[in-house]
Each structure stands twice: as structure tokens, then as C-alpha cells.
């Protein structure tokens, strides 16, 4: 839906902020819908590597001085045709505005840290689309709405209409057009950790540890945190489904 919302035309350049599972799928969907170039933005190398494997050009925002200028530079001065915020309300920003957001969120004056939202608005070309699959919950502060108005941006966002997409996506998976196993879970990605379930000898604590490790240890490197065996017997997909 995030890519569909961009109304992609052949030749379009799409920029995607956030290369977690949502971002990874978005990158692949954008290509599938006809994007000529996808620029993937994150700061974690594992995630950027996966984005590059999908055909995206990568941009490590922690390594550039000015992300907006950089995007302008790589799009011949025009800016991306659509910018996708696949991050949402807990963005890790930097600089003064991010510190301000963090402070406000801690004081419960605001629920959201809209660093990425500000960037997508600034970076998008005139008349382009800002697509927001990242979740926002409350009131936003310091949003450059003048920029959005001045450039005549189109905003599309919202909770995914799951029921619209599950069947068509499964069809594409069956047809081999999408391979979700590439999105994480096994072996090669997720920071070199393999996608095995946590030990079942400590069933009560390992799910909680999954949260901790997802959150604290390598928050933005994990793509899928395995936790399946902690709550009950494993599914017998093979025997029961054939």
C-alpha cells in the first residue's frame, strides 16, 4: 500500500526512509510497480545491504551532512518523485529538532518524534507524493506544512487496508514474484543471527527477552525476532497441510 500510494509512473524515483521489514517490502513493491530508481535511507549497514540486494541505491543518513541536499544531488536537483516514511513515530533523529522532540516525548507533551516526516516533506519534489506507512498517534510539532503547501505535495497514509492486500500478495508469493523469506528471519540477515527460535527451556522468559533484544540490544538491526516456540507447541505445517 505504501508503494501503491505513490502512484508510480515509469521512470519515477522513489525514496524510502527506513529499511526494516516494511521498508524492504516497500522497496521491492516500488520496483514491481514500475519505479526506475529507489533510494533507500537508513543508518544500519545490514539493512542497507539488503536494500541494495533488492536493487536500491543506498544512503546512510548518519554519513551525510545534509540528507535533503544529498537527495537533491542524486536526483539531478529535482528531488524524488515520491518519498515514503517507513519509520513513524519513534524515529532516531539527530540535531536540535530531534532533541526537542525527545524532550517533549519524555515529558508526555507529545507522543511522536516526527523527524522522518519533516525530512520527507522537505525532500520531496514539487507536486510529489508523501506516502506514510509508518505509524503516528498524536499531535505533531514543528511540521513544515508551509513547505508541503508551497510545493503542492500529495499526502497518502494510514493503517494498511489488510483485507485488500492479503489475497493478492499471497498470489504474488505463490507466483514467485515476492519472496518474503528474503525479508529476514533466516540466517544471512538480521545482523548475522540465525532465525532459530529461542531456547524452549526457558519458555516464560524468552519471549520477554525477544522484546528486550529487539528493543535494546540491536533494536534497528533485527528484521524479524523469532519467538514462535515460546508460547506453545510448534505448528506442524508439513503434515497438516498436505
Amino acid at each position: 500500500m505504501a508503494a501503491e500510494n505513490c502512484d508510480i509512473n515509469a521512470g519515477d524515483v522513489i525514496a524510502v526512509w527506513g529499511c526494516g521489514p516494511v521498508g524492504q517490502f516497500t522497496i521491492r513493491s516500488a520496483f514491481m510497480l514500475g519505479a526506475a530508481r529507489v533510494i533507500a535511507i537508513d543508518r544500519f549497514h545490514e539493512r542497507l545491504r539488503m536494500a541494495r540486494a533488492a536493487g536500491a541505491e543506498i544512503l546512510n543518513y548518519a554519513e551525510v551532512d545534509d540528507l535533503i541536499e544529498e537527495l537533491k544531488w542524486v536526483t539531478g536537483g529535482r528531488g524524488p518523485d515520491a518519498c515514503i516514511d517507513a519509520v513513524g513515530l519513534e524515529a532516531h533523529g539527530s540535531g536540535l529538532a530531534a532533541a526537542y522532540d525527545d524532550y517533549k516525548q519524555k515529558l508526555k507533551l507529545a507522543f511522536d518524534r516526527p523527524t522522518v516526516l519533516r525530512q520527507v516533506i522537505q525532500a520531496c519534489r514539487k507536486g510529489g507524493v508523501v506516502s506514510i506507512p509508518g505509524v503516528y498517534g498524536g499531535m505533531l510539532d514543528k511540521i513544515p506544512f508551509g513547505s508541503a503547501f508551497g510545493k503542492g505535495l500529495i499526502f497518502k497514509m494510514g493503517q494498511t487496508h489488510m483485507h485488500r492486500y492479503t489475497a493478492p500478495l499471497l498470489k504474488r508469493i505463490q507466483a514467485g514474484e515476492i519472496d518474503p523469506s528474503h525479508q529476514g528471519g533466516t540466517g544471512s540477515v538480521a545482523g548475522g543471527r540465525s532465525g532459530v527460535a529461542p531456547t524452549s527451556s526457558h519458555p516464560h522468559s524468552s519471549t520477554c527477552r525477544s522484546y528486550e533484544s529487539y528493543c535494546d540490544v540491536s533494536r534497528s538491526r533485527w528484521l524479524i525476532v523469532p519467538m514462535c516456540s515460546t508460547l506453545g507447541p510448534r505448528a506442524q505445517f508439513d503434515s497438516a497441510s498436505q
Partner: protein, 169 residues
């Protein structure tokens, strides 16, 4: 049954809770075989989403096997394996009929709270605060799925891809 419960900011715990039962004629009870922790679960974990209460069962991404069906379900049968969408939709309201499922008008019993904040309420979501309906989530052994035939992808779809794809999902 065992379920992962939210206990407060940065605290979750696997606890014994009551098993769900059929409340409405179009409900199904699913025995969960696979579930995921989503990035948006971290917003709950980090305490940024209001109206969470200690003991709320987390999880909005799950799949499993139908173990019980409400009397008005016609297609879904015991033993069917299903993938459950995280948005709950009735299939009959204005929004569902217009393919805008996450805006369903009939699935958030706490719509009044959302209306105060947003003007109108979206659909209910599994395991995502009382603001979103207070539904018990899927990081548990069982879950009640309302309007189960509207959302669940039936078993026949899964057969061919079950082992290869769903194992890794």
C-alpha cells in the same frame, strides 16, 4: 493458556490468562502457531501508546489453526489454517464496502475514545490498546478473531506455500 502480557513501560511477561471463547456468532477461536513482534509493538513496549492496561495481551501479527467457530460462520471450518490480518473488519459497513477496511465502522467497541481524539474511529486492532478496541492479541496460545470469515485467508491458499514461506514468516 499462556500469553504475553503488557505490564507497563518496558515490561512484558508471559502469564496464565483465561482462554478466549466465542462471544459473537461470527467469531472464530484460533490456536496460534506463529506470531511476530512488530516494530509497532515497540511503541507499546516503550509506553508511547495511551490506554494500555497491565495484563493486556500483545500481538497483532499471527496465524494459526481454527479450533472453534461461531454459529454464523459458513466457510471456515475447524482445522483450517489461517493468516489473520491485524485490522478487524466487519465486511458490511460503508467503509468495508468501499475497500477501506482499516476504517471499518463496526469493530472498535471503544470508538467513542477515538472519536474524541480523531473525530472518527478507525477499525479495531488486535493487541493494540483500549483506544483500538482492547482486543486480546496473538502473542498467546489462542485468540478470538471477530468476523473471522471477512479477514482470514483460508487454508487452501496456504497449502502450496506453507512450508517454504510461512515457516520463515
Amino acid at each position: 493458556m499462556k500469553a504475553l502480557c503488557w505490564k507497563g513501560k518496558n515490561k512484558v511477561q508471559v502469564e496464565r490468562v483465561d482462554e478466549p471463547s466465542i462471544l459473537n456468532p461470527r467469531d472464530a477461536i484460533i490456536r496460534i502457531t506463529r506470531t511476530a513482534i512488530c516494530g509497532s509493538d515497540l511503541h507499546l513496549y516503550d509506553g508511547y501508546i495511551p490506554t494500555m492496561e497491565p495484563g493486556d495481551v500483545l500481538g497483532h501479527e499471527f496465524m494459526g489453526e481454527v479450533v472453534e467457530t461461531g454459529p454464523e460462520l459458513k466457510k471456515l471450518k475447524r482445522g483450517d489454517r489461517v493468516v489473520v490480518p491485524f485490522t478487524i473488519a466487519c465486511g458490511q459497513c460503508y467503509y468495508c464496502k468501499h475497500d477501506l477496511w482499516s476504517a471499518c465502522d463496526n469493530t472498535n467497541p471503544n470508538a467513542w475514545m477515538m472519536e474524541k481524539l480523531y473525530g472518527y474511529s478507525g477499525s479495531g486492532l488486535f493487541g493494540y490498546s483500549h483506544l483500538m478496541g482492547g482486543y486480546a492479541g496473538g502473542q498467546a496460545q489462542f485468540a478470538r478473531v471477530p468476523f473471522a470469515e471477512v479477514g482470514c485467508i483460508p487454508a487452501s491458499w496456504l497449502r502450496k506455500i506453507a512450508t517454504s514461506t510461512l515457516e520463515t514468516l
